[in-house]
Point group: C2
Chain length 548, copies 2
Amino acid sequence: MSDLRIALAQINTCVGDIAGNAALILDRCRAAHALGAHVVAFPEMTTTGYPIEDLALRSSFQRAAARAVDEIAAALDAEALGELTVMIGTLGVSQAGRPFNQAVVIQGGAVVARYNKHHLPNYGVFDERRIFASGEDPCVVSPGGSPVGIAICEDIWQDGGTVAQLTGQGLRLLVVLNGSPFEEGKGHTRVELAARRAREVGAPVAYVNLWGGQDDLVFDGHSFIVSASGEVVASAPGFSDAMIVWDVPAAGTPALVSGIAPAEDLDEQTYWACVTGLRDYVVKNGFRSVILGMSGGIDSALTAAIAADAIGGENVVGVSMPSEFSSDHSKDDAADLAKRIGADYRVEPIARLVDGFQDQLALTGVAEENLQARVRGVILMGLSNREGHLVIAPGNKSELATGYATIYDAGSIGGFAPLKDLDKTRVWELARWRNAYAESRGEVAPIPESSITKPPSAELRPGQTDQDSLPDYALLDEVLDAYVEHAEGREELLARGFEPAVVDKVLSLVDRAEWKRRQYPPGAKVTALAFGRDRRLPITSRWRELEG
Amino acid sequence: MSDLRIALAQINTCVGDIAGNAALILDRCRAAHALGAHVVAFPEMTTTGYPIEDLALRSSFQRAAARAVDEIAAALDAEALGELTVMIGTLGVSQAGRPFNQAVVIQGGAVVARYNKHHLPNYGVFDERRIFASGEDPCVVSPGGSPVGIAICEDIWQDGGTVAQLTGQGLRLLVVLNGSPFEEGKGHTRVELAARRAREVGAPVAYVNLWGGQDDLVFDGHSFIVSASGEVVASAPGFSDAMIVWDVPAAGTPALVSGIAPAEDLDEQTYWACVTGLRDYVVKNGFRSVILGMSGGIDSALTAAIAADAIGGENVVGVSMPSEFSSDHSKDDAADLAKRIGADYRVEPIARLVDGFQDQLALTGVAEENLQARVRGVILMGLSNREGHLVIAPGNKSELATGYATIYDAGSIGGFAPLKDLDKTRVWELARWRNAYAESRGEVAPIPESSITKPPSAELRPGQTDQDSLPDYALLDEVLDAYVEHAEGREELLARGFEPAVVDKVLSLVDRAEWKRRQYPPGAKVTALAFGRDRRLPITSRWRELEG
């Protein structure tokens, strides 16, 4: 047995559930000890969950976090786990009363070292300079006499700071506590980065990441260890509880490879990111079931499939709300979907209700179309109120971006929008992936084939299709990606070869839709740059890319 | 005539309206020149409007701002205003491509100096470290040979930085360009701060502030100048276009007092802040009219009065939507209100529509109450769609905080909530102030007396009043202020002497209502610490103050 066995506990903490997180920490300390580990490390801000936003500024919350650390240390000692070196993240407080994003090291029933995160990310989804003070000093502890350094997440993404301070210090291991959100393709970047830091400090790097959903963020886990030469020697799967155990080699002895998780393809990762985001939003907020409108279209079909994978089809209520314009195939597809996933299926026709409003208001055109859509919203909210289901919104990113949606309809109301960060093209891809995955396992494909193949339509007037109002989705999504995600201007879009008419159409749609987006529920963020928290744009703004 | 006459142009810029802002700058430069000014200074980020959030990161927007500065310089020169020294705020870009919050000094048709804001606020409503790089160098220009220093807003609120660099440099004047949002009581703080900085640098401080509404912020203007000894020698009124002109005294000569704006009391300031916030949200977003539900209660009455003051009563559509539980006095008060403010008044009964849903859904209890409320939301959205009015939401801060409201009802839907940052106690106070103001001017009081005096009720069941569910508002608002605004915990609240039962009731209401608040429209922020952008709290969180 090695003299330095490290365990990385990849867990799903819950923001604010300090008692639950502490229990989880103790449970995994016991497991690590049983596996012969000398050191066990947990993700960023383990006791409090992550990210805690302005909760960090509440002194009552700061006190509760401090109490939890003391109680964990005492409990470890009481259980005769005192010789285990435990590295957990928590909320610290400076002498001046400012919060720190902190790692504490527990040994022998007491906190023996504290490290305060040096580099505070303040871009994209991160607001850490808003709430935390920055640490200045490195931290090295010596379990069994081996020097082990600590860093927290962003500390290895920026040059300088603690990693530079630890270089040349003869470390045996660098442990990094992370709360790194999922982005498509980010796994490779993390490994390359850790390999570079391993070579810089001349020691293996153990990277332990949080997994689970928190509001519009999904953390994917995918913890790993790279050797001093930058080779992956151990890795954990994504979106699940896991523990990596690895023997740190003595100087001059080769690094042995521990378990390596099988690689997942991008569709698979993104699909489980969506499932994780929805499941944790539902469960952590205390709901047991969800309700959504089932139109027979691809968006509600994929949303329902994700919901069934997240909390079980029996906890999904699908409501078909046909109008006079709903086609037979739509009603059939909705019923078929519900049957495939085992959902509680209801039919609530809206024609009579719409007629009631129309007798009084006599709306026409888009106002009339939106009325139908909003009557559906009222039905869902009523059933939600009566039965306690969380309403979920199947709106996708392409329609949110272009404003091709009714405010307060069944596609936009509710507490969570699982597809909010998937463009329409990606919705189709993930639906196909999910069906193929079922087929590869000999299971029933959850999504009716015709929901995938038929032309998309809101069915709010006879013969309507999305392409009456929008460019073809493949083209639309390409322009949206460049304009919204990569902040390219009209000039850059034209230089790429997009036709001026298409560019101008898309830009004018997006510019006008900007304010609408603020009224939609949060959804899981799964791509690198997404609408929502990582874009702060004024609502009141006269800036129009077309005229600028 | 003095050798150094300074003009401060207090204007209302619009975010993104670069052409409009540039035209406004040129217009005020002409006016300042006609008044014999040697120097004219404008508020923070004049060309782009403020705050521009992530628009700062778009290169097309950066280019447009740079072009605007060049065009303003050329236009000044072409109009023979080249000898005027013009200080405007704009969006600069560093060599490395990072945005600066910048002041440029224009003389003789060219930019002669640039100053980049040193202290970047990153708390409350401010996110400046997210988008801007920090400047390091001070900037002194010499109109007519007099050394004049420049700072931007937060630079004078923090010690060190540019003000420290300018101390002892023999300045004749320090000009500060500001985008300082309104807070109740902040006026005094600004003057005291400027007076301190004036004594530090040994020169008068000229403080020019933005006014106008931008999303949930209201900037109040209230520009002023303090002498080198810290006396106010000139001041502008709030919430209006204004220009201060003042002759900077030669060394050893006394400072003369220019115009001093009359003091406004706090109710008056807050009322006009609400009017400004709504008016600019409507006008800058291209609407001409608003629509709201008029229940006869105090919230919709004050909201309607604010709307009438903002855009004229003839542009306010008030819809009475009585149910079977609506009292006669409610209907009478709503009609009376509409008549007093000259609103377009409609009556749309909801009983028959609610019955239609009930025939199908048979809801009971709270679900039935909420159904009534949401049918009203559908009616307002339908009329909004048909006629182009912006829907505004009369919900107040006390009910948002406690979740005492229906999601998607007439109190919460729409684009702007004028009372979102006023607690119920303040709603009554401002209603009384507005009526007294009318009476003092011999005008009709806009708000029916009985809307102010009757017990508040949602009228969703017979005999219902707010106090069936909530503590008395005076007490509730006091606890809310301590818990929400000042982040006090249960321990601190009990130590203040609040009864445990009241504290626990309020805390459990707020903790459960937290997620609801994310689904409400923006409203003007008028107090120091408010719900919304300056509080980032997780939605998914198990933290409960009561259990913590």
